[in-house]
């Protein structure tokens, strides 16, 4: 059986830049930072006091207190973004989506906030006072299950936890599911709401986080000489993937084709990228091959671009290896400079950013890139968006564990 072509017919998001696709895009192209001092908990004893938080969202107001209190915040954000995406795809008119719809969701650390709360209660009040909902809130597949229940998704459900590559892997595996004829529609994407005192402390212990507490909005500076680590972010982004045939038969608006997916593993070190980004190179090559294009066809790369010294240097090297002489021509940017690192929700967000870049013929900038690192010498679209007609965009995501996931989107 020949593979079916897969299209994107819906987008939904809630993230540090906005609680819908339109606001998010506007802020992305205007170079607005969604990063600020943390407001959701006391940071006075922490080495890092800022992050990209979702703003102006009250779960009790959105879904009612009785329902909201059963879910971790990552579940709230997942349901919200899914509802937006289904509306956008005009699939919100049915009571249950049924057995021809699957769900593939990514998350890095699931309901880590619920884990911390439960352990705290256990220590302070003993085992008989631990929240009976703790397990169903903290399990990494909690969002997947809750979204499936809410919208009646009865096809296959998969939760992917490949750290910061999780939702890129999710989108890729969803593509495979449709290509192979398993279902016609997949609700995919990912969520992370893991900014907690413990995770901040632990990421800071491995020197992964920027410590520019005095200047949160300018702390995340991918590819800049003075970059000093990533910035935690939270959010959920959901894409509706669909077979081209299914989308056309119901006259759905098509954002873009998703034509390429490459997934590899460094098998090298649990946090450090392989020398020269070897695993990333193979993932990009596989995605390009899968899309049936050549490296020179790529107009825009939404980089992983975390703002850590190691990632940005190795990713630059990897892009040069894959694109050869074309590397100096290709337009690259890191939207993490504005959102912070959405961890398991990053790949889905950046898929959305790539798709919207194609749609609007505009590349969002890498903000805070003022003093380029000589080892990062490509065109990262510093500080201002650029107009660019994009036929093909590639999105890179790499995760702790050595996971690499690359997606290729094409103009429809």
């Amino acid at each position: 059986m020949s593979k079916r072509r897969v299209v994107v017919t819906g987008l939904g998001t809630i993230n540090p830049l906005g609680n819908n696709v339109e606001d998010t895009w506007e802020n992305l192209v205007n170079g607005v930072s969604g990063i600020d001092s943390i407001t959701s908990f006391d940071t006075s004893n922490l080495p890092v006091t800022f992050a990209g938080e979702v703003k102006n969202f009250d779960a009790n107001e959105y879904m009612g207190k009785q329902h909201a209190r059963k879910l971790d915040r990552s579940g709230h954000l997942s349901i919200y973004a899914t509802e937006e995406a289904l509306k956008d795809a005009r699939l919100d008119n049915q009571e249950r989506l049924g057995p021809n719809v699957g769900i593939v969701f990514g998350t890095g650390i699931g309901g880590i906030g619920a884990t911390e709360d439960a352990v705290r209660t256990f220590d302070e009040r003993g085992p008989s006072r631990v929240n009976p909902l703790a397990i169903t809130q903290l399990m990494p597949n909690s969002s997947t299950g809750q979204v499936a229940i809410k919208f009646g998704i009865e096809g296959p459900s998969v939760t992917i936890t490949t750290a910061c590559a999780a939702s890129a892997n999710a989108v890729g595996e969803a593509k495979n599911m449709i290509e192979n004829g398993i279902v016609d529609i997949v609700v995919t994407g990912g969520t992370e709401s893991g900014t907690t005192p413990m995770t901040i402390a632990a990421f800071a212990q491995i020197r992964a986080l920027s410590t520019q507490n005095d200047n949160p909005k300018e702390a995340c500076k991918p590819f800049d000489k003075n970059r000093d680590g990533f910035v935690m972010g939270e959010g959920s982004t959901v894409l509706i993937l669909e077979s081209e045939e299914s989308a056309k038969s119901r006259d759905a608006e098509i954002y873009a084709y998703i034509d390429g997916y490459g997934s590899t593993t460094d098998a090298y070190h649990i946090t450090a990228p392989a020398e020269g980004g070897a695993g990333a190179v193979k993932a990009m090559e596989k995605a390009i091959e899968d899309a049936g294009i050549t490296p020179s066809d790529i107009d825009y790369i939404n980089a992983h671009g975390t703002s850590t010294p190691a990632n940005d240097k190795n990713e630059t090297e990897a892009i040069k290896t894959v694109l050869g002489e074309e590397a100096s021509e290709v337009v690259i940017s890191s939207t993490k400079s504005m959102t912070g690192h959405l961890l398991g929700g990053g790949g889905a967000f950046e898929s959305m950013a790539s798709i919207l870049s194609i749609k609007h013929s505009k590349v969002p900038p890498t903000i805070n890139l003022n003093d380029p690192d000589e080892e990062c010498d490509l065109n990262y679209t510093p500080n201002n968006a650029v107009d660019l007609s994009i036929k093909t965009a590639m999105s890179n995501s790499f995760g702790f564990g050595g996971h690499n996931a690359v997606l290729v989107f094409k103009k429809s």
Binding site: K65, Q66, K70, R129, N131, P132, L133
Partner: protein, 79 residues
């Protein structure tokens, strides 16, 4: 404590702690069907009752509790 006082405390717990709509909480209301308190939720309810009334409730005592009035009567008998 009078039965109606126990009911008021139970109602208050349901509304304030569990976020259930106040008008739904009547003596006749069924915990699962009317108040959407499922098998996971009932454990929370028991914890809230134990903390509020300073009592202990065994799982076996809950076997026959399906409505607000049955819960109120159980609590009243233990006070």
């Amino acid at each position: 404590m009078e039965v109606n006082e126990v009911f008021e405390k139970v109602k208050n717990l349901f509304v304030e702690e569990l976020g259930i709509d106040a008008e739904k909480v009547t003596m006749e209301a069924k915990l699962e069907e009317d108040l959407e308190i499922d098998s996971l939720g009932i454990v929370e309810v028991v914890m809230a009752f134990e903390d509020e009334f300073g009592i202990e409730i065994d799982d076996e005592e809950l076997t026959d509790v399906g409505t607000v009035s049955q819960a109120v009567n159980l609590l009243h008998s233990k006070l």
